[in-house]
């Protein structure tokens, strides 16, 4: 250290200048190295490590900064959703059971459905009808969704395969393909189909949404819509919109393969076949051979009175 201190004194002016130069360059290099180091550290601290699951089912841990976000083009997304929508949910056979003895015409199912599918108030995927079968039989309320027929006339007549039957039993629509011929409306004996005669309710807000076949949103002018058994909710493992919205325990929904259906209100799960057997389950208009996947339990021992104001409408067809 002392030696060092002495040295400068002995140095010529030229040497001195040389030294300054070296120190200068050194400082510069060192400084920038330190600077770069700090910077490097900073970056390192920011990037946490994340776990990713590869397509081969391998769990890897990688630097988050090493990942790049894949942005799918909307076109690809749509194709993907269309394919997914057609494939359906493997291994399931969805069924619905509607217990008419419980329906009080609360219409919460209709409201929830219209809300989910962005429908106009007069468009019904599910419609609660006031029914009376003969002059002296009691009137009752009957929620009527699409029957998701196993032999669906709507699918048979569609010229472009825009309405189709999936392996899990659901009949869906692809409104990106539908040409709006309404042959399916004419062919459906259950009046289950609605058409977008005008610009749909939320067409402006929904403009940038990618079309989801399983939700049929955004709705499109000039195309068909109908009950979808809430295929989007089923994919998430949830019950359909109408089923969960009912306050009176009318709906059971489940899987025929598992022989189990769950009540949307009580969340109680029961045996599907037993439920039908114990309560005299039936389907609507079986003589047409459409093989509905929606079953009804008769309005036996209703705990509610049929509203007087609805009697006239229920009996309308009997008078004529």
């Amino acid at each position: 250290m002392s030696e060092k201190e002495e040295k400068p004194k002995k140095k010529s002016r030229r040497e001195f200048l040389q030294d300054i130069g070296i120190v200068g360059v050194g400082t510069l290099i060192g400084g920038s190295a330190i600077f770069a180091g700090i910077n490097y550290d900073k970056r390192k601290k920011q990037g946490e490590r994340i776990k990713v699951l590869t397509a081969e089912n391998e769990l890897l841990e990688i630097e988050k900064s090493d990942t790049t976000k894949v942005t799918k083009s909307p076109l690809k997304n749509l194709t993907y959703l269309q394919k997914e929508g057609r494939d359906g949910l493997k291994g399931h056979r969805w069924v619905m059971v509607i217990d008419l003895s419980k329906c009080r015409n609360a219409r919460k199912c209709m409201a929830a459905c219209n809300d989910a599918h962005h429908l106009r108030p007069e468009q019904h995927h599910i419609n609660t009808l006031k029914m009376q079968d003969a002059k002296d039989t009691p009137a009752y309320y009957m929620p009527k969704p699409c029957m998701h027929c196993d032999n669906p006339p709507c699918v048979a007549v569609c010229p472009v395969d825009a309405t189709f039957k999936r392996a899990d039993g659901i009949v869906l629509i692809d409104n990106e393909r539908c040409i709006g011929c309404r042959f399916c409306v004419a062919a459906c004996p259950y009046s289950a189909r609605v058409f977008n005669w005008a610009e749909p309710l939320h067409s402006h807000e929904d403009e940038n949404l990618t079309y989801d076949v399983e939700l049929n949103v955004p709705q499109r002018k000039g195309t068909i819509s109908k009950c979808l058994f809430s295929a989007d909710r089923l994919r998430e493992g949830k019950l359909p919109y109408c089923v969960s919205a009912c306050p009176n325990g009318v709906f059971y929904f489940g899987d025929e393969n598992e022989d189990a259906v769950t009540n949307g209100t009580t969340k109680e799960t029961v045996r599907f076949k037993k439920l039908l057997e114990d309560n005299g389950g039936y389907t609507l208009m079986p003589e047409l051979g459409t093989l509905p996947r929606v079953y009804y339990l008769p309005p036996k021992g209703k705990e509610y009175p049929f509203q007087d104001k609805d009697k006239k409408e229920a009996g309308e067809r009997l008078e004529s």
Partner: protein, 443 residues
């Protein structure tokens, strides 16, 4: 042998209408302007969607589809007059063959346009080809109507070849390019016996071939309805019921056309009272057959009164649609049959009136078949606005429905302006045949 002067007279009589005159220009102008107005209405439908119509989720097929059925129906007449009557040796009908073919071609080609008017997404028309589903009756319909259109065009064109040659030679006052077109289209026709033979054989082959295709187009069209399980459509006799109804409509259309061509083109010597008499009898015949099918179609369900059908039958016979139903059946079918039994009524003017009655009846009959069934589905119509329950067509919809009719009139007028409406070559030939023993086989 026909004298030269006779031949010349026929040629000049029949070619006379082929020239530009004032009434033609005015008539076309009128049609053009009307078409533009109707297209404006269609523009509204494209922009706002099909709310501009009176259709709803229950009655979702209305005037457009009824019109489509009507157009396909009327186009069948080409097959009846040119093929069936031609093949069975009914020589009286041969001067009418071309009129019938023009009507057939016009209605068949516009039928496709009518169906587009009914589509919610007409811009996706090609999906029918890209994603076509062979099990859908619409696919069958598209296929057979296209085939029928092409065959009808050939059926009009092939027998026309000799006349085209005559046109190119005789129409001296036409500009050269027009005469050239005739010449090119006449494919070097020289009236050699060999050529005559080819034309006759080809015409005969097409005549045979067109019969099953024509039956197919209307049978398939009827299946658009009969293949659904709806009260009023779910019927096994819809095929023949529609086909016979088609003959009634088509014959009426030919009668109306005969009247106007005869009058405007001064063809009294060629479309004679005898022709009216004969086609009047034909109309009686086809109407009687149609009446028989009507009896089957309505009386059997009326006797059984199954619940869903009972509602429909009551509606037709006595409630909402009763006035239209009975007017159509009586004014459009029964009364014409009775009137036409009298020879006095089988004269041009009365026939025109009857023809119009029958044709109007035929259009409304299609409405009666299409609409009421949809107003009475199996399950009650509830919780929807009133206009969903009862179908009332709107003005815009009516204008759009008129558009294809204008188009048909334009096509018929144009065709009748550029080709001789009565076959010239054949008429001369028949004249030659008449005094001598049959030389050229006309069948």
């Amino acid at each position: 042998m026909a004298t030269k002067s006779n031949t010349d007279k026929i040629t000049s009589d029949l070619l006379r209408p082929i020239r530009l005159n004032k009434s033609f220009v005015i008539w076309m102008g009128f049609l053009g302007v009307s078409l533009v107005i109707c297209l404006g209405a269609y523009g509204l439908q494209l922009k706002n969607g099909m709310v501009v119509t009176g259709l709803g989720d229950y009655v979702s097929w209305g005037m457009y589809i009824s019109s489509f059925v009507f157009f396909v129906a009327t186009s069948l007449i080409g097959m009846l007059i040119s093929a069936v009557l031609g093949l069975s040796g009914q020589k009286w009908a041969s001067p009418l063959a071309r009129i019938a073919e023009i009507i057939a071609l016009a209605f068949a080609s516009v039928a496709g346009i009518v169906i587009i008017l009914d589509m919610g997404r007409p811009e996706r028309l090609l999906n029918v080809i890209i994603h076509g589903q062979i099990q859908s009756p619409i696919l069958w319909d598209v296929t057979v109507v296209t085939v029928y259109m092409i065959i009808s065009a050939l059926f009009l064109y092939i027998p026309l070849i000799p006349d085209l040659k005559i046109c190119s030679e005789k129409l001296k006052n036409l500009p050269p390019f027009a005469r050239n077109i005739y010449k090119v289209l006449s494919l070097n026709w020289n009236n050699t016996p060999e050529q005559n033979k080819i034309i006759k054989q080809t015409t005969r082959t097409i005549a045979i071939f067109i019969i099953p295709v024509a039956l197919a187009i209307h049978t398939v069209t009827s299946w658009l309805f009969a293949n659904t399980s709806r009260a009023g459509w779910d019927s096994t006799i819809f095929g023949p019921y529609f086909v016979t109804g088609a003959f009634v409509a088509g014959t009426a259309a030919v009668i109306i056309a005969m009247y106007f061509f005869r009058k405007n083109y001064k063809l009294q010597d060629y479309i004679t009272d005898n022709h009216f008499d004969m086609i009047g009898k034909l109309l009686v015949l086809v109407s009687l057959v149609y009446l028989y099918f009507n009896l089957n179609e309505y009386m059997v369900p009326f006797y059984k009164m199954k619940e869903s059908e009972a509602i429909l039958i009551r509606d037709l016979f006595a409630v909402n649609h009763a006035v239209l139903f009975w007017s159509v059946q009586i004014l459009g079918l029964v009364l014409p049959i009775i009137l036409l039994l009298f020879k006095k009524m089988r004269k041009p003017l009365p026939m025109l009136v009857i023809g119009i009655m029958v044709l109007l009846g035929a259009w409304f009959k299609r409405m009666i078949i299409v609409v009421p069934t949809q107003e009475h589905p199996y399950l009650p119509i509830q919780n929807v606005p009133l206009n969903f329950k009862i179908y009332t067509p709107t003005l815009v919809e009516t204008l759009i429905t008129i558009a294809p009719f204008i188009l048909v009139l334009i096509i018929i007028t144009l065709l009748a302006k550029v080709i001789p409406i009565i076959p010239v070559h054949e008429t001369i030939e028949q004249l030659e045949d008449a005094p001598i023993s049959p030389k050229g086989d006309l069948k």
